[in-house]
Symmetry: C2
Subunit: 377 residues, 2 copies
């Protein structure tokens, strides 16, 4: 292996794949970065064994020039070195030692790992994606749902987002059993129905790493892996095993009251009130009370600290205009941040029954559902 590369190109490429590389991984080789150099491209892989990124750098003869092909697993220090230099680098592998030369006399020589010991990524047919969507759409689908997945491994299936595709629409749903985010899109359809549960954290990582201006292709050729691709970047993640709970029965159809209210205004008020509530609650957000009667009043009472109430005028209300409901401020804040719309509908079903937030303006069918908290007073 022997090639020249612009340090900026190498640093930018490494940045795309290093998010999953853990420098303290118990399997030492996974602390490194797999590199395969051919005459056409340099393939970089970073992996933590459940999630992997793969990126292809094209050999253009200008910013990248290859003299000799080869394979190696480089230590992660190569990322730091590439980031800190602004120059042309010459990399050469000899007997598991990678030399990086730059400037007149400066040089690093890094020990590498044996490429043959690096776990192989599953193969798939790159020409036949299971489906393809616009990155911007996929970003929305993730934002509306992934936040509601569970953080806890008590029920591992709930740490995922259930993506199911039918002939007429695609549905994403996530729930931690206290709240639920769901979005349906009729833009993406398929002849072959499919359903898989993808770890919410993997989807978050994908949304942060992929260029959402580009198309994203999905490949589901094996039962336990799914691959996402956008241009030269590939993301491999495991699929969660098990049956995702049926959440359709949780979706209410009729409501006692539907209140149209400013999203930003409600969010700001909740933020201030929850600041007080969370003071007594180690920052977990605290429970707040919503009282609707001519306006929406959010309040909290923490015997240790004090009490607060904010009044937010609603735009419109259909149905019962006199109800009270208590809930975790954090859950409603998360839901209001996950949607994008100037106004939302707050749909009330009755005491101790889940309530729903929907944006008034969306090209998707969206539902954010929250279970209220029972309180004694």
């Amino acid at each position: 292996m022997h090639f020249k590369i612009n340090s900026q190109v190498l640093a930018d490429s490494l940045k795309k794949i290093e998010k999953v590389v853990n420098p303290k991984h118990t399997i030492p080789i996974l602390q490194g970065i797999s590199m395969e150099v051919t005459q056409e491209e340099i393939i970089l892989i970073g992996s933590d064994s459940t999630e992997s990124f793969r990126y292809h750098i094209p050999v253009d003869g200008e910013s990248v020039e290859v003299f000799e092909c080869g394979k190696a697993v480089l230590p992660k220090q190569v990322c730091e070195i590439a980031k800190k230099l602004k120059t042309q680098l010459e990399l050469k592998l000899e007997n598991f030692n990678l030399s990086i030369k730059y400037g007149k006399k400066s040089e690093f020589t890094l020990n590498t790992f044996d490429y043959e010991e690096y776990p192989k990524l599953p193969k798939f047919n790159i020409d036949k994606p299971s489906l393809t969507f616009k990155g911007a759409d996929f970003g929305v689908l993730i934002k509306r749902t992934a936040y509601a997945a569970s953080d806890s491994e008590t029920r591992p299936i709930l740490t995922g987002v259930n993506m199911s595709l039918e002939s007429d629409c695609m549905t994403l749903v996530a729930t931690d059993s206290h709240r639920l985010g769901q979005i349906k899109s009729t833009k993406i359809t398929t002849e072959e129905p499919m359903s898989l549960v993808i770890p919410a954290k993997a989807l978050d990582k994908l949304a942060k790493t992929f260029d959402l201006q580009e198309d994203i292709s999905v490949y589901c050729e094996s039962n336990n892996q799914v691959v996402f691709r956008s241009g030269q970047l590939f993301f491999y993640t495991r699929v969660l095993e098990g049956n995702y709970p049926d959440t359709t029965r949780l979706m209410p159809n009729s409501f006692k009251s539907e209140m149209k209210i400013g999203r930003k205004e409600l969010l700001d008020s909740l933020d201030r009130i929850s600041g007080l509530a969370s003071g007594a609650d180690n920052g977990k957000g605290g429970v707040v009370k919503l009282f609707v009667n001519g306006a929406a009043t959010i309040s909290t009472h923490q015997s240790q600290i004090g009490k607060g109430q904010e009044v937010v005028e609603y735009e419109e209300l259909n149905g019962e205009d006199n109800f009270t409901i208590s809930f975790s401020a954090k859950y409603l804040i998360d839901a209001l941040k996950a949607v994008e719309s100037d106004y939302i509908l707050f749909k009330y079903q009755g005491d101790n029954r889940p309530f729903i937030i929907t944006p008034t303006d969306s090209e998707y069918d969206e539902t954010q559902l929250i279970l209220p908290v029972r309180t004694l007073t």
Copy 2:
């Protein structure tokens, strides 16, 4: 207590004093903020018992309007509330309950602490500062020294910066016994010699909080406290007890070699090399070797990871042009960051003897001293 205040004015004022307020302080009243409202000013105090900030907000009848004087210790939540609102606030105290009203119907009611139980700050004669200097000068004095103080409480006196004032100059010095930062200024002189040891962390806090465009006055009326003042902001900190070690005998006078070299260039090279060295060292910076012979070569060899060397051309060298010295990369990086000059002089005394960094261009007498590390090879 009853007054109106612009939330921005309150938030900005609270920001100046809240750095020392610990919401988990074991003494509950110190979790709060002391407030005294008079017709002329509102006095805010935040304290962690060893360090305190005090800030006076003038009552101007516009952004602050006082209806009734009073005293209270407010819970820290008041900071969050003030920061999150952009409006006029009306604060009123009744029976240890502080109500904060804003907008049409929104209101917080916070429990307060008993003002009489809040620790009193030591008194001093505000008209007679012990000395006064320009903030910009004081900022430089702190930057050159505080970084070299010890983090460890093994020898508490070394966690401080020794500030000593004589008839002809003021000297600040800090050392953790492995490295030392010293600066002398002839701009500040006094007829009454004085010497005190101020915690380095307090000086850091001061440099970050005070407006260094303004003059800073120092009051040393008691043996264990010193007060800094800039405009309406006061900072109280304890003085470390004990005798500061005599560091004058550590200052070498003659050198085997003096090398003039680019500060930024040396810093960037060290940064890259130490990235490799620290990999084997849990991020502690690692030991690097400097070999000077026609140029400065910095290198490291970590058997686990690999080796690296960078060559930095020097500008000029007087004396021996063939020596090798090993040291903690972090110490030299810290010292090079603490000084400001395009070039520095690297002054070499001989094997295993401390070396010195001085800026080539400074209006002060500055010395950064570093003890080398003995190595077997």
